[in-house]
Amino acid sequence: MEEIKFTIDGQEVTAKPGQSVLEATLAAGIYIPNLCYDPKLEPYGGCRLCVVEIEGMRGLPTACTTKVTPGMKVRSETPEVHQVRKITMELLVADHPLECLTCSLNQRCDLQKAAAFLGVDQSRLRRSERALANDESNPFFVRDFKKCILCARCVRVCSEVRGLGAIDMAKRGYEAFISPFAGLPIADSICESCGECVDHCPTGALYVRGEAILPGKEVKTICPYCGVGCQMVLGIRQNRIVKVLGDLTYPVNSGSLCVKGRFGLDFASSEDRLKTPLIKKNGQLVEATWDEALDLVASRFKEIKKKHGGQAIAGLCSAKATNEENYLFQKFIRAGAGSPHIDHCARL
C-alpha cells in the first residue's frame, strides 16, 4: 500500500491510506491530546481536544475525524488551537471532582495526561458536579458518573465491539449520562459484565472494584475457560492476578474478553487449592508426601497391571490441560501402563 506523506507543524510524517490525522500523528510518536478517540472504534469527534488547523480547511477540524490526504499541512500547536483545547479542558476539569487530577483509580488516566499536556492544573471556571450517585450494582466494576466525560467510548465499545448495546447515552446536553435501559443499575441490564467498557474508559468513571494495584509484571497467556482460546495479559503482583486485559494483537479476540476471562481468574489464588498430595486412609483423605503418594500409585498400578493386564487401567486426560500434558498423559497410559483406555471429556 502507498504511504501518504503530510506535515504536522512542519515535520513530515507518513501515514497509511485511510488513516486519520490523529492516528498517523500518534503513530509517528507525536502527541495530540485526545479523549474520545479509540483505535478500536469509529471516529466520534466528541471531546474536541484534537482540533487542529489544516491548510485549506475551514475552522478547526478534529484530527480524529479527518483522513490524511497527500501533502496535507496540519498545524497542531497554534495559539488558536491551544486556546480551544485549553478552554475545553478547563471546562472538563471544572465539571469534575477536585481530586480528578490526582486520582489513581484508573492507572492510565487520559484526562490527566491531556490536562498536563495543556497545562491545566486548576480551573478559573464555575465548578459543578454531577449529582448522580455511583452505580455499584456490578460486583466487578463501579460506574462513577462524576468522573464521566461523556466520550461515549463505553457506549461505543458495547455496541460497536460487543454488538450488545447494554448502555447508551440518555437525556441530552449537560443532563446527559450513560445509562442502561430505563436508568436501571447496570446489574439489572443486559450487560454481560465483560468489562470491556472499563478497559476503554479514559478516566476513572469506570473502574474495577477494589484497590487500584499496579501490576509488577505482565504475562501473556491463554484463557482457561471455553474453546475460543482468547489471549490475555495477566497483571501479576505478589503472586496474584490483579488485572486482566485482552491482548489487542491476538487474532482470536483482538483485546476482547468475556466476564469469566476478565474477572473470573482469581480461583488460582483460592484458599481451596490442593497444596499437598492426599491419600485415603480409613475413608478419609489425609495429607501425604509426594513420595508416599506417587509410590503408592505406582505400586498399585503395577500390581493391577501385573494381575489383570494393562486393560484394567484406564486414564482420563483433560480438556483443560495443555497439549504437552495431554500428550504425556496418553503416552503414559498407552506406553507406560500399557492400556488402550484413554479418553477425556470431549463429549461433555
Partner: protein, 615 residues
Amino acid sequence: MRFEQLQARAKKAWQEVVSPQIPLIRMGMATCGRAAGGQELLQAFQEELAKNKIQAQFSEVGCLGLCYAEPMAEIILPGRPGVLFAKLTPAKMKKIGEDYLVHGKIVGDSALAVMGPARNGTPAFTDLPMVKGQQRTALRNCGIIDPTNLDHYLAHDGYVGLKRALSLSPDEVIAEVKTSGLRGRGGAGFPTGQKWEFCRKATGTPKYLICNADEGDPGAFMDRSVLESDPHSVLEGMALAAYAIGAEHGYIYCRAEYPLALERLDLAIRQATEHNLLGDNILGSGFNLHLKIKMGAGAFVCGEETALMASIEGRRGMPRTRPPFPANQGLFGKPTTINNVETLANLPPILAKGGAWYAGFGTEKSKGTKTFALAGKVDRTGLIEVPMGITLKEIVFDIGGGSPIGKKIKAVQTGGPSGGCIPAELFDLPVDYERLAAVGSIMGSGGMVVLDENTCMVDVARYFLEFTKNESCGKCAPCRLGTRQMHEILTDICAGRGRPGDIELLEEIGAAVRKGSLCALGGTAPNPVLTTIQHYRHEYEQHIQDQRCFAGVCKALITYSINAETCNGCRVCATNCPQQAISGEKKKPHVIDTALCIKCGICYEMCKFDAVVRQ
C-alpha cells in the same frame, strides 16, 4: 385528468371565491388566527347569522402575515372586492354582520383594508404600511387561498413550475435555480443550485430529498405559516428538487409543535398523489416521488442536517462531523439533499417565471426575497417577505411600526439562538447574509425579535444560553459544558453575583466554544453573548460593578416601591399582588413589603398612575 383540465377546473373554483353568489366569509385560520380566538369567533358568528337567517358561506384561509391584526376575516359580497376586517371581537363581529353583510356599509374604521382599490376611506390592502414594502414570493399564496383546496393552489399558477421542470432535463432545472441565485433559507445560505448539483453528481442509490420543517428557532414562524397556509407550494418545491437531484423518496421532517401544519401537509400529499402531482409517473413524465412525513420529537438540534437525518433514522439527534457531507453520505448513508421549507416554497415561481426574474430582487450576493418573522416589542407583529437589501430601519419602523407603546427601540435580535443582537445605531444596515454576519449576527431562518429599552441585554443573553444549554445534544464537550458554563456566569451576573473578570471569561469561553464545537448549534451558541458584550458591554458592567439593571428586568437587582405622592390608594396593586405584599388603606398611599415581594412586576404593570417605582 390532464394538467390543462385540472387547471381549468381550478380556475372555475377560484372564480367562485372572487365573485361568490352569496356573501363569502373567509376567516384567517392559521395557528395565529386560532390563537387569537378565530375559531370561537367564527362559530359564534355562524350561529348568529343562522339565527337571523342571513345567508352566507364560510371558508378558511391561512395567514396573511398581519398576525398583530388577528383575528381577521375577509368578507366578499357578490360583485364587490373583499374587505378585510381585523382585530375582531364578538361584539365587533356582530356589528359588522349587521352593517356590512346586510347593508353593505363599512362603519367607522372597522375595516382594515380592501382587497382591491381603496374605497370610502378604507385603504387598499397593498397600501397598508405593513404590506407596502413587501414582495411576496414564498408567501405568495398565504392568506389568499384556502390551504385545504388544491384548486385554489392550482389557480395561482400551482404546479406550473413543476410542469415546466419536467419538460427540462434535471441539469437544466439546476441551471435555472443557479441563475435565480437562491440561497438556502434555513440559515447557512448555501447556494441551492450548487447543493443540488453535488447530490446529483454523487454516486449511490437511492437518493433522498429531505424537507427540513423543523423550524426550531424561537422567534421564527415562517415555515409554520407556509405549511399551514400553502402546503402545496412546499410539495411542488420538493418535486422540483427531487427531480433535479434524482431522488424518488422524500421526507418532510416537521416539528410536532405544529399540529396544524402536519395535518395540512398530510392532506396536501394525499391530494397531490390523487391528482398525479406526486407518486408514480408524475404528470406522465416517468418521474416518481414518494413523500413521507416524519414528526419531530422536540429537539432544536435536529434542525442541524446530520442530527435531523439521525432522527429520521430513529437515533438520538446527535450531529456528526462533516465531511462526509450529506450530498455524498446522508440519510441511511445515501446521497441526500436537505432544503428548508422557505427555500422549497420559492422554487415553483422560480421555475414558472424563470431564475432571472427572481434574481431581479435583492442584492448582489443575496438574491431574491426573504421572509422575516417580526415579533417582540414592535407594533405590527407578523410575517413579512421583502427583497434582500432592505434596511433594518425599514423593517422595524416602516413595516413594523416601531414600539407599540412609544418606548425607545434598543435593538433587534436576528437569527434566534444562533444569531445576535444588532443595536438600533446600526439599523441602516441593509439586510443580507454577508452584512448580518459582518456585525456578528446571522440571517438564520429570519426571526426578528425587536427589543426596547425595557429589555435587559444580559438577560437576553442569559435567556438564549439557557435555551442552547437545554438543547445541546451533549455529544461534544465545548458545547455541552461551555453553554452551561456561560449560562451559569450569566445567571450569576443577572442575580448580582457577577465577578470582576466575568466579561472577559465569557468572551474567552465564547470564542473557544464557537471554534471548538462539533456542529453549528455550539458554533453559534455564543453569538448572543458575544454580540451583546460587543454592543452593550456597559450593561454587563452595570450589572457586575454597580449591581444595577437599568432595564428593570433582573429581579435581584431591582426593587419595587410605591411613590406615596402619586399613589391614590385605588387598591388595584394590592388586590392583584399574588403575595399579598402590598398593604394600605383605601384612598391612602400603599406600601410594598420588600421581604414578601417576589418582583413579579404585576403592580408595576397594573398601576394606572405610575405610582409603582422600579429601581
